[in-house]
C-alpha cells in the first residue's frame, strides 16, 4: 500500500508471540507494541521508509508478525477515525482503502490493515551528467531511471519530485541545447552500427527461442527474485552476498541452457519479451550484489549487518563518500568501478537520528 497511509495510521504488532493468531480487536491496548513510536519517539510512524522497513522486518523476524505466513504488521486507523471521523479518512485515503479491501476482502475502516515492506523502487539508476545525459551522447535519462536524486528515504510519491524537477527545470534547457549544438548527421538503416544492432538482437532472439528447455521464464524470474530478496534485501551481509554471487551465475547458466520460450519471433510473443528482460535482470542482479558487497558500510537503504551501531546504520564516510558508477566492460567481464565523489560545501555530512 502507499506509504502516505502512515500519515494517519499507527503501526503495531502484538507484544507477545502468543497473541499473533488472535484477531486484532482481541488484543488489549497494553499488549500492543507500537514499535515505531517506541523506538523513534520523535518521528514515530513517520520515520523514513528504510528505518520503518527494517523495523517491520525485525519484529517479524522475532516471530511477532501477523497474518498468514507471519510477514505482516498492523497499520491501524482506529485512532485517526475516532479523532477525525470516518468521512475525513475516506476523503484522504478512500481510493487506497478501497484497493486494500479488494485485495484482502477486509474492511480497513473496521479492521487494521496488514502491511509489509516490498521491493518497489531501487535507489540508483543510470549515470547521467548535470545535463541528465548518459554516457551515450544524446541519450538523456530522466526521473526515476537516473541515479541523481533519491537516496535511502525516498518517501511515498516523491518520485514525482524527480520527474518534475528533471522535466520542468532541467530538460527544457539541456535537451534543447543538445539538439541545437550537436551535429546530427543523417543516418540510415544501412549504417553498419544499425546492422550490427539488428544482428545482435536477432541472434539473441533466435538463441532464446531455440533452447526449448524445461524451465519457464517466470520460474527463473521468481528464483532470481527470491535470491535477491533473501541475500540482497532490507539487510545484507558478506556471507549472503557471496552466496548470491555463486547462485546468480548458476541460475544464468540454467536460463541460457534450459529455459523454454514458446512460440516464434514472427508475432507478438510475450514470453520472448519477458525472457529478454529476465536475461537483463540476471546480469543486473549480479551487479547489484557486487555493489552491495563492495560497499563496506551501511548507508540508507543499503544495510550491511556487519556495519551497525545499536541497531542503526553505520556509515563510513572516510572510505565511501562516493556514488559508485559501474561501467559495463563487456559480456563476461567484471564491471569497472568509477567513483563519483560526494562533496558537501555547505551542508555537511552528519548522522541522522530519528529517536
Amino acid at each position: 500500500m502507499s506509504e502516505s497511509l502512515r500519515n494517519d495510521g499507527r503501526v503495531w504488532v502484538p507484544k507477545k508471540k502468543e497473541d499473533c493468531g488472535k484477531k486484532p480487536g482481541e488484543i488489549a491496548e497494553e499488549d500492543r507494541d507500537y514499535y515505531l513510536e517506541r523506538k523513534y519517539p520523535s518521528f514515530g510512524n513517520l520515520s523514513p521508509r528504510d528505518i520503518a522497513s527494517r523495523a517491520a522486518k525485525e519484529v517479524c523476524d522475532e516471530g511477532r508478525g501477523v497474518g498468514p505466513g507471519g510477514r505482516g504488521v498492523y497499520l491501524d486507523f482506529a485512532d485517526a477515525i475516532n479523532r477525525l471521523g470516518e468521512s475525513a479518512i475516506r476523503e484522504r485515503y478512500g481510493n487506497l482503502f478501497e484497493m486494500y479491501a479488494r485485495i484482502t476482502n477486509e474492511n480497513p475502516y473496521k479492521v487494521p490493515m496488514r502491511i509489509y515492506p516490498a521491493v518497489h523502487y531501487t535507489m540508483g539508476g543510470l549515470w547521467v551528467d548535470y545535463n541528465l545525459m548518459s554516457t551515450i551522447p544524446g541519450l538523456h535519462v530522466i526521473g526515476e531511471a537516473n541515479f541523481s536524486d533519491h537516496g535511502a528515504n525516498r518517501l511515498g510519491a516523491s518520485a514525482l519530485m524527480q520527474g518534475l524537477a528533471d522535466g520542468y527545470f532541467v530538460l527544457p534547457y539541456t535537451v534543447g541545447n543538445y539538439l541545437a549544438s550537436a551535429k546530427l548527421a543523417k543516418v540510415t538503416a544501412d549504417h553498419p552500427e544499425f546492422k550490427a544492432a539488428v544482428d545482435k538482437v536477432q541472434a539473441m532472439t533466435d538463441k532464446l527461442l531455440s533452447i526449448k528447455g524445461t524451465r519457464t521464464v517466470d520460474s527463473i524470474h521468481r528464483e532470481l527474485g527470491n535470491i535477491m530478496w533473501e541475500k540482497c534485501g532490507m539487510a545484507r551481509n558478506e556471507k549472503g552476498l557471496k552466496e548470491a554471487l555463486e547462485l546468480i551465475p548458476k541460475l544464468r547458466d540454467e536460463f541460457w541452457n534450459n529455459v523454454n520460450v514458446p512460440g516464434s519471433g514472427a508475432e507478438l510473443n510475450q514470453s520472448l519479451e519477458k525472457a529478454g528482460r529476465v536475461a537483463d535482470f540476471l546480469d543486473f542482479a549480479e551487479l547489484m550484489v557486487t555493489d552491495a558487497l563492495h560497499r563496506e558500510e551501511s548507508c540508507g537503504g543499503h544495510f550491511r549487518e556487519e556495519h551497525q551501531e545499536e541497531g542503526e546504520a553505520k556509515r563510513d564516510d572516510e572510505k565511501f563518500a562516493y556514488a559508485a558508477a559501474w561501467e559495463y566492460a563487456g559480456e563476461g567481464k567484471a564491471p569497472i568501478l568509477n567513483k563519483e565523489p560526494l562533496v558537501f560545501d555547505n551542508v555537511h555530512l552528519s548522522t541522522r537520528s530519528y529517536k
Partner: protein, 262 residues
C-alpha cells in the same frame, strides 16, 4: 483464511494474430487460490500451458494496481468482469465459485483490432490524446504555488475525470463501440483547470474530430460506458464535451465568417 482452491473451466478467445480467425478454446484452471487476482489466475494457467508445450494466452497487463489501464478483458460478457468499478487486475478469484465457467474475450470494437488472443491495439486512444489531450505551458519558470487558485468544486470535477486510465472498457461495453466517455473524460479533466483554458475549445474540436476519424461509433446515451468504467467516470463528462464542442464549432464558424470565408 485459506479456503480450498477453486476448480474452474475457462473458455478463452485464442487468435494467433491480426486478421487471423480466432476461436474459443477451453482450459481447466485447477486449484486456484481465492486470494489470487484474475491476472494471477491467468499466469497460473499460462505456466501450465507452457510446461505442457502449448502457447500461453497473451493478455495485456502492467502495474497490477488498477491504475495503468493496460489490463482489461471481457469476463463473462462484462468489461473487467462482474465487480463494479474494478479493473481485471483488482478482481479477485474469491468473486467466483468452485465449478464456475468463465468466458474470457478481448475488447470487441472495430477501432481496437486484436493483436493476439486477448491483446488489442488501443492506438486509437493515443491518437485522440495526441490531437488535443495536452496543455501548452511554459517550463522552467516556477510560479508561486498559490498564484492559480482553483475552487474545490473544479478541482474535484477535474480529478474525478482525471481518474480515467484509458483502458477502453467504455468502448468495449458500448453497443456502438463509441469512445465518447474516454474522450469526454480527458476534455473535462483539462477543461476544469485554469491551465487547460487557453486551448479548451480547440481541444474539444480536435479531439472529437479525431475520435470520429477513428472507427468508433457515435454516442446514443446507452450509458453502458459508465456502468463498465473501472474508475466510475460519469456520463456527465459527455455533456461537458458536447457543450465545449458546440461552442468551438460556433466560434470556428464566426472566425471564418469574419475572414470572409463564410
Amino acid at each position: 483464511m485459506s479456503a480450498g482452491g477453486l476448480n474452474l473451466t475457462l473458455h478463452v478467445w485464442r487468435q494467433s494474430g491480426p486478421n487471423k480467425a480466432g476461436k474459443i478454446v477451453d482450459y481447466p484452471a485447477t486449484n486456484i487460490s481465492p486470494e489470487m487476482s484474475f491476472l494471477e489466475m491467468l499466469d497460473t494457467v499460462n505456466e501450465g500451458l507452457i510446461t505442457s508445450g502449448q502457447e500461453p494466452i497473451a493478455f495485456d497487463h502492467d502495474c497490477r494496481e488498477g491504475i495503468c489501464g493496460s489490463c482489461g478483458v471481457m469476463i463473462n460478457g462484462a468489461a473487467h468482469g462482474p465487480m463494479k468499478q474494478t479493473t481485471a487486475c483488482q478482481l479477485h478469484m474469491r468473486t467466483f465459485n468452485n465449478g464456475d465457467e468463465i468466458w474470457i474475450e478481448p475488447w470487441r470494437a472495430q477501432a481496437f483490432p486484436v493483436i493476439k488472443d486477448l491483446v488489442v491495439d488501443r492506438g486509437a486512444f493515443d491518437r485522440i490524446i495526441q490531437a488535443g489531450g495536452f496543455i501548452s505551458a511554459p517550463t522552467g519558470s516556477p510560479q508561486d504555488a498559490n498564484s492559480l487558485p482553483i475552487s474545490k468544486l473544479d478541482a474535484d470535477e477535474a480529478m474525478d475525470a482525471a481518474a480515467c486510465i484509458g483502458c477502453g472498457a467504455c468502448v468495449a461495453a458500448c453497443p456502438n463501440a463509441s469512445a465518447s466517455l474516454f474522450t469526454a473524460a480527458k476534455i473535462t479533466h483539462l477543461g476544469h483547470l485554469p491551465q487547460g483554458q487557453p486551448e479548451r475549445y480547440r481541444r474539444a474540436l480536435k479531439m472529437v474530430t479525431q475520435m470520429d476519424l477513428e472507427s468508433f461509433g457515435g454516442c446514443t446515451l446507452f450509458g453502458e460506458c459508465q456502468e463498465a468504467c473501472p474508475k466510475g467516470i460519469s456520463i456527465d463528462t459527455i455533456v461537458q464535451m458536447n457543450r465545449d464542442y458546440i461552442v468551438a464549432a460556433a466560434n470556428e464558424r464566426e472566425e471564418k465568417a469574419e475572414m470572409g470565408a463564410g
